[in-house]
C-alpha cells in the first residue's frame, strides 16, 4: 500500500510539476536568445512566476518520493512504473494546458498502461 502511494506521488507530483513549469515558461514566452545574460534574464523572469515555484516544489516532492520507494522496491520495477507519466502528462496536457492529444498518442498511452499492468502483475 505504501509503495503504491509513493509511486502515485512520483507520477502525479512529477507530472504536475512539469505541467506547472511548462505553464510558467509559456507565460515567460519563447526563448530565442541563448546568450548567458539573456538566459539569466529569462530564469530571473521565470522565478517571479508563482507556477514555477509550485512546479519546482512538486518536482522535489516527486524526487524524494522516488528515493523513498527505491528504498523498498527494485529499480527494475519502479522505473518502468514511472512510465505512467505519459498517461498523466496526456491528461494534464489536455485538461490543464489545453493541448490537443491525438488518437495515436492516446493509443500509445493505452499501450503504456497495459505494459505497466503487466509489470505490476509480474512482480506479484
Amino acid at each position: 500500500m505504501l509503495e503504491a502511494f509513493l509511486l502515485f506521488l512520483v507520477v502525479v507530483s512529477g507530472t504536475g510539476g512539469e505541467i506547472c513549469v511548462t505553464r510558467a515558461m509559456k507565460s515567460v514566452g519563447e526563448v530565442d536568445d541563448f546568450r548567458p545574460l539573456a538566459v539569466a534574464r529569462v530564469i530571473s523572469h521565470a522565478l517571479k512566476v508563482s507556477w514555477m515555484w509550485i512546479g519546482v516544489s512538486m518536482m522535489a516532492l516527486a524526487f524524494f518520493s522516488l528515493l523513498a520507494v527505491l528504498s523498498i522496491e527494485n529499480v527494475s520495477f519502479v522505473v518502468p512504473i514511472t512510465a505512467l507519466n505519459y498517461a498523466a502528462g496526456a491528461l494534464g496536457g489536455k485538461f490543464f494546458l489545453g493541448e490537443r492529444v491525438t488518437p495515436r498518442r492516446w493509443a500509445g498511452v493505452l499501450i503504456v498502461c497495459v505494459g505497466v499492468t503487466l509489470v505490476w502483475l509480474g512482480k506479484r
Binding site: 527505491l70 528504498s71 529499480v75 500509445g108 499501450i111
Partner: protein, 140 residues
C-alpha cells in the same frame, strides 16, 4: 567531414549519453537507497536521520550527477533535434534500467515483468511518434 555528418555524429553522441546516464542514475539511486534502508517510522526525527544518511551516500550523489548529465544532454539535443525524434529514446532507457537491475544489482525479473517492460517501450515509442506541438503556431 560534412555538416550533415557532424550533426548525425553529435546527435548519436548525445543519444548515447542519454541512454547510458539516465539508467545509471536510477540504478545508483536505487543502490544508494537500498544501502540507506527504508524508514522504520515516519516520525520527523527518523526522517531527518534518513535524510542525513541520503546526503552522506556516495551512490546517491553519483546517481544525481548521472541524472544531471542526462538532463544537460537532453536539453542540448532538444536545441537542434525534434522532440518527437528524441522522446522515443526514453523507451530504450527503460529497457537499459531493467538490464542493469538484472545484471548489476542481481534483481529477479519474472517473464511477465520483461513482457511488461517491452510493451511499455512500444507504448512510449508510439507516444513519441506523434506531433510534438498541437497548440499555437506550428501545430499540425
Amino acid at each position: 567531414m560534412t555538416s550533415s555528418h557532424n550533426l548525425h555524429l553529435k546527435t548519436y553522441a548525445m543519444l548515447l549519453i542519454m541512454v547510458l546516464f539516465a539508467p545509471l542514475g536510477n540504478v545508483f539511486l536505487g543502490k544508494g537507497m537500498k544501502n540507506v534502508g527504508s524508514a522504520v517510522s515516519w516520525s520527523p526525527s527518523q526522517l531527518l536521520h534518513i535524510l542525513s544518511l541520503v546526503l552522506k551516500s556516495g551512490y546517491i550523489w553519483l546517481g544525481i550527477a548521472c541524472l544531471l548529465t542526462f538532463f544537460v544532454a537532453y536539453l542540448l539535443i532538444l536545441s537542434w533535434a525534434d522532440y518527437s525524434y528524441v522522446q522515443p529514446t526514453s523507451s530504450i532507457t527503460l529497457l537499459v534500467v531493467a538490464l542493469l537491475g538484472y545484471f548489476y544489482l542481481g534483481e529477479r525479473i519474472a517473464p511477465l515483468h520483461w513482457a511488461g517492460i517491452i510493451v511499455i517501450c512500444l507504448g512510449v515509442f508510439v507516444v513519441g511518434n506523434t506531433p510534438p506541438r498541437t497548440t499555437g503556431a506550428g501545430a499540425d
